[in-house]
């Protein structure tokens, strides 16, 4: 036998099909009565945009996972699922604003998902938690705030709070470690376009790479510092 290989000698190597690394994104969405009308319509349109844009990116559609918990009352609308297989739900407004319980439910869901990743040998990026509300909590929120602060301190996730202009920003500031962002008008679509673009950038990132995100509170951004 010589080294004159007539064909590619490695073609028959049975490569492994390992699961992709994941980038979990948890959306905590306010569907209380005050969101009825245009706000909920714009929020739903934003979710459709998020779905379309993530699906259009082959890598993000495989790596980003979306989970949704709504509050008013607390409901798990979407357990974590790959963005490519996810269908944007049509949310409807309901009751009050149990924000504290929704945060606790969502963070528990996140821990469960991380355990699943671990069991299956799937690595993951630091999860993103995105809270969007137009009001203030109607339940006890202090424990949720503690969990958010602990999670941020231990780098368990990144927590973002976004409020429509009627939101109780005083409470949001106590829940979120970073400054809450006030949504300009009802620019939910711009918010979700930014979220999709940011998640795509994260899912494409490499070892130790710092991902530079577009500033959402820039003059042309969708929000402002509350």
């Amino acid at each position: 036998m010589t080294d004159n290989y007539e064909q590619q000698p490695f073609d028959a190597v049975p490569l492994i099909d390992n699961p992709s690394q994941r980038c979990p994104c948890l959306l905590l969405l306010d569907v209380s009565g005050s969101m009825s009308g245009r706000p909920i319509e714009e929020l739903n349109a934003g979710l459709v945009l998020l779905k379309d844009e993530l699906s259009a990116d082959p890598l993000a559609s495989k790596r980003v996972q979306v989970g949704i918990v709504t509050f008013g009352p607390v409901e798990t609308v979407t357990d974590f699922i790959d963005a490519g297989q996810w269908n944007a739900p049509v949310l409807r407004t309901k009751g009050d604003t149990p924000m504290g319980a929704a945060i606790e439910r969502g963070l528990q869901m996140l821990e469960t998902q991380k355990s699943i990743y671990k069991n299956y040998g799937i690595t993951h990026y630091r999860p993103w938690v995105f809270l969007i509300t137009d009001g203030g909590p109607t339940d006890a929120w202090q424990n949720a705030a503690r969990l958010v602060h602990e999670g941020e301190a231990n780098k368990k996730f990144k927590f973002f709070a976004v409020g429509v202009e009627t939101a109780n920003f005083d409470v949001l500031k106590q829940i979120s470690v970073g400054d809450p962002i006030a949504l300009k008008g009802l620019r939910f679509r711009d918010l979700f376009a930014w979220l999709s673009s940011s998640l795509s950038s994260v899912s494409h990132s490499n070892v130790g790479e710092e991902v530079k995100l577009e500033n959402p509170v820039a003059p042309n951004g969708w929000g402002s510092i509350a």
């Binding site: 036998m1 010589t2 080294d3 004159n4 290989y5 590619q8 000698p9 490695f10 073609d11 028959a12 190597v13 049975p14 490569l15 492994i16 099909d17 390992n18 699961p19 992709s20 690394q21 994941r22 980038c23 082959p58 890598l59 495989k62 790596r63 299956y120 040998g121 799937i122 690595t123 993951h124 990026y125 630091r126 780098k155 494409h204 990132s205 490499n206 070892v207 130790g208 790479e209 710092e210």
Partner: protein
């Protein structure tokens, strides 16, 4: 019979590096060190951190300096089984010193040279693995089809986080000695991990590595097989490999694989037994 080693190796640059106009930051070397008891294969792969400004230089320094220290040790009569934590820490400190000098000269920080390290040293009787971060070496127990991963790649809690030679205050390494002899091994950077390791079972699939090594096993030469290395380079950058990964070929990949001992050293073509540094290919 005199034992020897034969090997092939290649690196391929990922599309994300091509897009960003970055050079390949993987480096790999293989050296057969002649010693009294027989030749020792010393293979090293280092993967420069994607975000580090001088990652490729860091990976080069890690490979070259490790090889230099290992060769000096082996040629002075040092035994593989006597490589202990203290000696390994000394070698890694010397890599770090070289990086500090380079960083100082270039006006950069040592962390700008962040790079991982996978090194494997093997003779007829013993195998030693030194490991910092991700990437891995897999080995086959002599004359069996039992493949194992002596040191599993380290990943932090989140994807794309690992350990580097330049970590402060010290680089945390794994030093593993295998009691039984090995006759085949492969060593690779993290870009290959998802293609060749079973992460769920934490194992090295025997069928995959037996097939991977086959072209080298049936080769009758000694040392580096350049033709096979070229085939491997083409394969690592091929559509088949890209399609097999979830990252649509974002990652750079580097793979060495080695078979030994070979038949009589005096027989068959000898393509070179010195140290070989592998270039990347876009």
């Amino acid at each position: 019979m005199t034992s020897a080693w034969r090997w092939a190796g290649a690196c391929a640059i990922g599309t994300s590096h091509v897009r960003a106009n970055l050079e390949c930051q993987d480096r790999a070397t293989c050296l057969i060190v002649e010693t009294g008891p027989g030749p020792v294969a010393v293979a090293v792969v280092s993967d420069g951190a994607g975000s580090a400004r001088a990652a490729a230089q860091g990976a080069s320094i890690a490979c070259m300096e490790f090889h230099r220290r290992a060769a000096l040790y082996l040629r002075s009569g040092g035994a593989l089984g006597k490589i202990d934590d203290e000696l390994t820490a000394d070698w890694i400190d010397l890599i770090r010193e070289r990086i500090y000098v380079a960083a100082n000269f270039a006006g950069l920080k040592p962390r700008d040279y962040a790079a991982t390290l996978v090194a494997l040293l093997a003779n007829n009787e013993h195998c030693t693995v030194v490991h910092i971060g991700d990437g891995a070496a897999v080995v086959r127990k002599h004359q069996t089809q039992e493949w194992s991963v002596p040191s599993w790649p380290f990943h932090g809690e989140y994807a794309s986080t690992t350990r580097f030679v330049t970590d402060d205050p010290v680089a945390r390494f794994n030093l593993v000695h295998l009691e039984s002899a090995i006759d085949r091994f492969a060593i690779f950077s993290d870009g290959m991990e998802n293609l060749v390791l079973d992460h769920r079972e934490k194992s090295a699939p025997a069928a995959l590595f037996e097939r991977l090594l086959q072209p080298l096993v049936i080769w009758e030469g000694v040392g580096r097989n350049r033709t096979l290395s070229r085939h491997l380079r083409d394969y690592l950058g091929s559509e088949k490999v890209c399609n097999a990964t979830d990252d649509v070929c974002e990652s750079q990949r580097c793979l060495h694989y080695v078979f030994g001992p070979a038949p009589e050293v005096s027989e068959g073509p000898r393509e070179g037994r010195g140290r070989h540094n592998l270039p990347c290919r876009g």
